[in-house]
């Protein structure tokens, strides 16, 4: 809808095409991202160039836009072009050859005046388990919102692997490229059984008609049962999710996360409202996931963090205050000051 009013260069199919075919011109999309990010609800759902071939052009100025347009035109007239709606997010291969799976650079977000995220730079390596801590309002959740496409930053960039520009994807697309999220407040589908909740979350072709025709294969059933085992809800499999306890809902949501089988898991306060042993099991689970997956955990509970964390990032007032092993961080005077300061 918004494309009607603000014709972003990156909406031009040509621009998509050039990205899609991996040509060197990125600027149009880039500029589009800048402009686009100013209003948070704009242009969701509309396809954009999903690939970003060469990151050196990244902060190219508006000048590039016009070249972009020129390029667009050429692209439109190319015979071997491939339109963006032809490639789907899941077809994008994730390139982590340089190590990091998540690049957040120079991110800024402010909600009417208040700076929630302030020049945030954060890199997460593939397969690591990262804990993010910080006092309330440090911007932990907002950061996750940016990564999952819920909130658009005013400026900065967020890349998944080297090529996938998250700021140009919608929530579903981000989910498809392999980022799963568990919310702070557990949100499961109350009127569905536990089983169905997992089924819905399961990695699959999630377009409308495939979904309409989808039938559970044996393999998928096994997978669901397996996850049911992991989260220990076999007995409740057929109960409506609404009847679960808070802790169980937490588990269910983690289960849904597993079903998505994402490359990157964003886990927001997983152990809130859990008993002690539930907490331990969560800790085991998360650590076991690390390696095959990349896990980013946001948590207040220091004991829990200590029990799982190899590397800890401390956010404060929207930017990274300190980073390192739990011990390093805990002895960091600034961190102490911040936490005592409260």
């Amino acid at each position: 809808m918004s494309s009607v009013s603000e014709p972003h260069p990156d909406r031009e199919t040509g621009a998509r095409a050039d990205a899609a075919t991996g040509s060197a011109v990125s600027s149009s999309g880039e500029a589009g991202r800048q402009a686009n990010s100013t209003n948070s609800d704009s242009g969701r759902g509309s396809g954009r160039d999903l690939l970003h071939s060469d990151r050196t052009f990244d902060f190219s100025g508006p000048m590039q836009v016009w070249q972009g347009f020129g390029q667009d035109f050429k692209e439109l007239t190319r015979r071997d072009r491939q339109f963006n709606f032809m490639i789907r997010a899941k077809d994008l291969e994730l390139d982590v050859s340089h190590g990091p799976i998540l690049y957040l650079e120079g991110l800024n977000v402010s909600f009417d005046g208040f700076k929630a995220i302030n020049e945030l730079n954060l890199y997460v390596n593939a397969g690591e388990l990262r804990c993010v801590i910080g006092p309330n309002g440090a911007g932990k959740t907002t950061m996750m919102d940016i990564i999952t496409g819920k909130t658009r930053p005013d400026s900065g960039s967020a890349f998944f692997g080297q090529k996938i520009d998250l700021l140009r994807l919608t929530e579903p697309e981000i989910a498809e490229v392999g980022i799963g999220r568990k919310f702070q407040k557990p949100t499961v589908f109350e009127h569905h059984s536990v089983f169905e909740n997992l089924e819905l979350a399961m990695a699959a072709d999630k377009r409308v008609f495939p979904t309409l025709l989808a039938r559970l294969t044996g393999k998928e059933r096994d997978r669901i049962d397996e996850v049911l085992g992991i989260i220990g809800l076999q007995e409740q499999a057929q109960r409506e999710a609404s009847v679960l306890s808070h802790g169980q809902k937490q588990w269910l949501e983690i289960g849904m996360l597993l079903m998505q089988d994402p490359h990157l898991l964003l886990v927001d306060e997983p152990v809130a409202g859990m008993t002690h042993q539930e907490m331990e099991r969560t800790a085991e689970l998360l650590t076991s996931l690390a390696g095959k997956h990349t896990v980013v955990v946001v948590e207040h509970d220091m004991d829990f963090v200590r029990s799982i964390a190899k590397r800890v990032t401390v956010l404060h007032q929207g930017s990274v205050l300190a980073e390192g092993s739990m011990d390093e961080v805990q002895n960091d005077p600034r961190v102490i000051e911040v936490y005592l300061g409260e």
């Binding site: 999952t148 579903p172 989910a175 799963g180 589908f189 309409l212």
Partner: protein, 373 residues
């Protein structure tokens, strides 16, 4: 077996379909074979009445699909119903041919006395049934698609969505009232003669239309069940309950909505098309926002999110209307209004809900078994 898959665990639906089947068998017999005067005789009046109810029921099912399972309260479904009706009406008008009062072979009467010289472009082709049939599906579908495409992409939800659907049907009503539009203005389309060569006034045709309505309802119901029992149906309910969450697990909510919404509109269109030849008139009044609201009421009374409930609601309310307007013409609005209030306050789950709880209370275990099946 596979055909019955969608009806699994839907006792209400089965009963409803069984009733439908029985009526579909009984009524023609009682109407055609049992002689008049015999207490068992079902008059043609009753047949058309039943036929009308069935088309309403189909419409209600269409509404329940989007409201009950997708959480979209459409206050404009009457528009799709009416559009389907108009498409059929235009075909029937063309069938009149030179039997109109002015005996014009091409132009319908209302065009003759507004001295239109030739048939407007959008009336072309409606002399062919296949074309009309196509339009019955296409016109409501297309409108719904465009409207939904806009609304769902820009994430219009809740009352905002409801109100703009209302605006849609309201605008259409005003437009169709204009005589310049070429749809007969306030008088609409009427005085139909025959359909596919069958005289609309013969009992046989009426029975035929009645059976067609019954079949349409059965198929429509089955199709809706098929959708809601599919994974897509579960996604829809998920959207209803937690829209944004669905996005985060990778479904394109706007497209899910669009698909189901459009299908529902097409169903409504079909209902309208079957409605028109049975009541013998289509006029802009059908677009009136109040009609659309009323049909939401049917669904609510029958029981939201239980498709068979919609059927019950539609039939009961309209049956009530028929009885009350005849029995106590002065006071029937009190009764109807009171009914609406009482049901919403005391039966939040509608009649279907009531039945369910009764069944539950009688046999808890079976209920559980059904669920786990």
């Amino acid at each position: 077996m596979g055909l019955l898959q969608p009806l699994k665990g839907d006792t209400g639906g089965k009963i409803m379909l069984a009733v439908l089947a029985l009526i579909a068998v009984l009524v023609p017999i009682l109407n055609l074979l049992v002689p008049e005067g015999n207490p068992l005789h079902v008059s043609t009046f009753t047949v058309t009445l039943l036929g009308k109810y069935l088309t309403y029921a189909l419409l209600a099912v269409a509404v329940d699909l989007v409201w009950g399972y997708l959480g979209i309260l459409s206050l404009g479904h009457g528009a799709f119903f009416a559009l389907g009706g108009y498409a059929m009406g235009m075909y029937l008008m063309r069938q009149i041919g030179d039997r109109g009062v002015y005996g014009d072979p091409l132009l319908p009467d209302f065009m003759v006395f507004l001295d239109w010289q030739q048939l407007p472009w959008f009336w072309q082709g409606f002399d062919q049934f296949w074309y009309a049939a196509l339009m019955i599906l296409l016109v409501p579908g297309l409108l719904a698609f465009v409207f939904g495409w806009l609304a769902f992409r820009s994430r219009v939800t809740g009352v905002y969505l409801s109100i703009i659907t209302q605006a849609l049907t309201y605008a259409l009503m005003l437009a169709f009232f204009r005589n310049e539009m070429g749809f007969g203005g306030n008088n609409g389309l009427t005085d139909f003669k025959d359909l596919l060569g069958f005289d609309l006034q013969s009992d046989g045709t009426r029975i035929g239309l009645f059976l067609a309505s019954a079949l349409a309802l059965a198929l429509g119901y089955w199709a809706c069940r098929w959708i809601v029992t599919s994974k897509l149906g579960r996604v829809a309910v998920a959207v209803r309950d937690a829209e944004s969450r669905v996005r985060f697990i990778g479904y394109r909510v706007d497209r899910v909505k669009l698909a189901i919404w459009t299908f529902s509109a097409v169903l409504a269109g079909v209902a309208g098309a079957l409605y028109v030849p049975q009541v013998g008139i289509i006029n802009p009044g059908e677009f009136s926002p109040l009609n659309s609201i009323e049909l939401v009421v049917w669904v609510a009374i029958g029981g939201r999110a239980t498709l068979y409930g919609a059927v019950i609601g539609a039939v009961l309310v309209n049956y009530g209307k028929t009885v009350f307007t005849g029995a106590f013409p002065e006071a029937w609005l009190f009764v109807l209004g009171g009914l609406f209030v009482l049901v919403t306050v005391f039966l939040p789950a509608g009649i279907a809900g009531l039945l369910k709880t009764l069944r539950r209370r009688r046999s808890e275990p079976t209920a559980l078994k059904e669920k786990s099946a």
